[in-house]
Amino acid sequence: MKAQGVALWLLGTALVLCSMYTHGFRRCLTSVDMHHLEECFQEIKRAVQTKDIFPNITILSTVETLRSVKPMDVCCVTKNLLEFYMDRVFKDHQELKPQILRRISSIANSFLYMQKTLQQCQVQRRCHCSEEATNATRMVHDNYDQLEVPSAATKSLGELDVFLAWIEKNHQETSPA
């Protein structure tokens, strides 16, 4: 009887923790229209990627960096990469053509909105950064520092489609609003 009781209690706790964990995880989702962002990028893709003079180097799209991110680390990595783009890439990139400037502005402001929604999770302590997440972020920054600023910024801009696809994949809402 006692053993049964203990087993049941353990099972119950495990279930509760699981639900809390998944519930918490699901909460940390951005509700941005990714389709609009991807469209935005497609319009400037050619103009940006042709200016990239180092085709053999990647900053963001190394196999290890993004694909190996665990579900638990998604919130942290997303937040860090958004910061990376807003603090470094968009600032360093000097754009003169109004058409391209408009679209970069659209993407940058959408990133700002995404970051705001993730900050709510952080306040609720649901956006924990593990060592792997921190390492992944640091790797991206290091890659960026390898190149000179204008080229690095251009290259990172060109890799936006990779980042956007990764966000869409990892931040899909499983339940309807």
């Binding site: 941005v32 408009r102 402001n109």
Partner: protein
Amino acid sequence: MVLKGIRTSLIMWLSHTLIPCLLTDGVAALPAPQNLSVHSTNMKHLLMWSPVVLPEETVYYSVEYQGEYESLYTSDIWIPSKWCSRTEGPECDVTDDITATVPYSLRVRAILGSQTSAWSILEQPFNRNSTILTPPGMEISKDGFHLVIELEDLGPQFQFLVAYWRREPDTKEHAKVVRKGGIPVHLETMEPGAPYCVKAQALVKAIGRHSAFSQTKCVEVQGEALPLVLALFAFFGFMLILVVVPLSVWKMGQLLQYSCCPMVVLPDTLKITNSPQKLISCRREEVDVCATAMLSSGLGSSGLGKGPTCQELTAWSAGHRTHEIVIVAHWHWGNCRRGVAQAASAASVKMFPVACAVVDSEASLETSLAFLS
């Protein structure tokens, strides 16, 4: 003392005249547009301002915007509006500029030739999540028995939640998400008897808000009267058939019976009650049988001319009651007349006994024996 006074007044006069002149040259007296405001309904954002009116001059305006990102990270960058970098009207559709759910700063200035006014900035930055969402326009129609809804097309950012139910006690509400306006959507197949009611609300995922529900509209299909009438018709028709068919079958049967197998009763005069020999008085054996035509397979007649005598006939017929004989013999005392023979084929004539009758008088005798068509 006096000279000092004159010098100061001269300086003052100069400053009062020259400096303003210098100042006004730079600004060129083109006033900046005032009273900037944004009116936003259903995710369509319209920047409006008071126009700068100059007599006989067309004043153009230039609009620029700055998202929250730009104001935080690159504060000196202002982006020219997509449609209003040079516009005439005192308003500008900035929907295509405001593409994120963050506060945007907007500014306008007037342009006249080479002159430009100072920038006039919107007091409060505008965030598109403050847009007014109105209940969507909704058209309900019935396509036969189908409930069809067509919603207003409000753009790609809008989805609709449609609620519909049958107005009857204890029926639950159904909900359906319609992803695009402007096209007819089938909701349900209706059944007659109660009206169906529909209401809809607009949803904008980008700002996480929804509008109020529209007015409920109801529609009903008429099906009651028609099926009832049809049912009555069908019932009566069926009853009619039930009665008429046996009747007609019976009648037909009777008709057929008459046509193919009639029950004809032999008249009493022709009935053979006694032996046929009694009926025949063969006193006048030498009477000429002028003409008898006998057609019968059994008798093997000789046809016209000499026919069998009366005795022969009677004897034969007694033994062959089942054969069909049709004879009409006409005897006439004295003058022989050819009798009229009427014959029928063996197949169609029924069996009759042969009867001969002779009238013992000088009148003509007609003997009809038996025949039937």
